[in-house]
Amino acid sequence: MAKSRAFDVRRQTGFVPVALLCFLVLYLPIILLVVYSFNKGESIAIWEGFSWQWYVKAWQNEKVQDATILSLIIATSASLIATSAAVMAALATTRTKGFRGYTFVFALINQPLMIPEIVTAVALLIFFAIIKVATGYTGLMYLIIAHSAFCIPFAYMPIRARLQGMDLNLEQAGADLYGTPWRVFRRVTLPQLWPGVLAGSMLAFVISLDDVVITEFVKSAGQDTLPTYMLGQMRRVITPEVNAISTALLAISVALVIAFYLLSKGGPQKNRE
């Protein structure tokens, strides 16, 4: 096409360098962060040789252990709750010719994406403070419910996208063969929907795992997750231990996002059995 000609209609002066610079800028800080997590010395700017010591230190740090466990409990619970709710919501809102209240439902589901996180965080702080006084309960459920809420849109999007591309005929056939709605859902809909469900739950997990603002406002004393623990550390002298924790978290996120990408890339038609 245009490539073989001397005059490339797609070329714009300076765009390629800016774009390449953009990728460099995007990755350089992260790469340096990872590199210095392996630094032998205390510095995060002067390289003194390779060492695993900061990973060992972080691993042995009891606060980090507690925060990791808490992060995983919250992210797993929130992802499970958000994904289940999102599957049901997606079944109700897709493949239908629109219904009364659709705008309301759509706005509500997408609300966590539109409202500044700090505002939701403040709202939850106030609301949960009232409940805490009234019930005396200060456990983990506040964090789990709060995380579930803002994870719903992230779980909902890939599930809905998958559902929209699916073939209605199979479910119709299942119903014609006297399958109960539940049986049709489990045996026909869910297996087809599965990549979307998996993708949605992974996205929800990553979003929950990475949350700082809402967690910081909602948590009770002693309920630090990894990000809020790290935020607290940043007020002090920073050692590569923070880099080591960051690198571990980055690895989890990147792995899940790439898995998500591969899952959603194989669209409905490709995975047909």
């Binding site: 209609v9 800080p29 995060i44 709710a85 996180e117 990000p227 890339k265």
Partner: protein, 300 residues
């Protein structure tokens, strides 16, 4: 379809929707109403509120009462924080556009099978922890960081340049964390772009700049508007980035709000400030929806 099965379908639909809606009403939308209520109450002595109606919090958003003689004046502290939030968010959006537009263009002009990989490269950092990315920026620009060490090592400067805890640091950080939100919608608008239009323009002796401005830009404009909103809105409500990179010296709205629930302990004021932030965001979103709607009309 019969009336009965219609009602049944409706019932089934709302039943399926109920878990998601309940969670969202309980832990996202409902509490916002309580914030509105709290903004009209009197602050308690040690945080919290006293259940007495008052509009003081709303006055305090922009006005302060002199402690000694009760005169009213504009609250310079609050206004300067509002101004800084808007200024830095606009700058972030502008820089993100200047870098994001060519990048989206670059990706959209790659061979079809490679575009996904380039986009993945843009999106991977976005899905990683915002705090970690902010921290990565902090490590680079701090006094003992890579940039200063490099400049001193090369003999260009003697003393490290103070970049951390400045407005520059916050803008750089927000640009860094929100850039993918600019590239994504511009790319989406550009991907379907028909380059035969550009060819036609060149045949008519248009310059490259003119082609960019008069042919490409008008068509991808909805993407640019969407990207700008997607960057501007979270920048305006940013909390983590100004806290880490502004170091408590350069406050933005998000930090001012947090202060009211911490040391300041004026919950109603914090509530009023939150609603103000929400209102600004809503105005931005409405402007966006209107603009997108107009584009839709003129092209549809």
């Amino acid at each position: 379809m019969t009336q009965a099965s219609d009602t049944q379908a409706t019932r089934r639909r709302w039943l399926l929707l109920s878990p998601a809606l309940l969670i969202l009403l309980f832990a996202a939308s409902g509490p916002l109403l309580i914030v509105v209520l709290y903004s009209f109450l009197t602050p308690g002595d040690y945080g919290g509120v006293v259940w007495k109606f008052s509009t003081d919090a709303w006055f305090n958003v922009v006005v302060e009462r002199d402690f000694f003689d009760d005169t009213l004046s504009f609250s310079d502290a609050h206004l300067s924080i509002f101004w800084r939030s808007v200024k830095l968010s606009l700058m972030t959006t502008l820089v993100a556009f200047i870098v994001g537009f060519p990048t989206a263009y670059f990706i959209a002009t790659r061979p079809k099978e490679k575009r996904d990989i380039w986009m993945l490269l843009i999106m991977v950092p976005f899905w990683t922890n915002l705090l970690i990315r902010t921290f990565a920026v902090m490590e680079i620009i701090r006094n003992e960081g890579v940039v200063n060490s490099l400049l001193i090592g090369l003999g260009i400067i003697d003393q490290p340049i103070q970049m951390l805890f400045t407005e520059f640091a916050i803008t750089l950080g927000m640009f860094y964390v929100y850039l993918p939100l600019m590239v994504l919608p511009i790319y989406a608008a550009m991907e379907r772009f028909d380059f035969s239009l550009v060819e036609a323009a060149y045949d008519l002796y248009a310059s490259r700049w003119r082609v960019l401005r008069r042919v490409i830009f008008p068509i991808v404009k909805p993407g640019v508007i969407a990207g700008s909103i997607l960057v501007f809105v979270p920048s305006l409500g940013a909390y983590v980035t100004p806290r880490v990179l502004g170091g408590g010296k350069q406050l933005m709205l998000g930090n001012l709000i947090e202060l009211q629930f911490g040391q300041g302990r004026n919950w109603p004021l914090g509530a009023a400030l939150s609603i103000t932030l929400l209102a600004i965001v809503m105005v931005a979103l409405i402007v966006y929806v209107r603009a997108a709607g107009r584009e839709e009309m003129s092209h549809g």
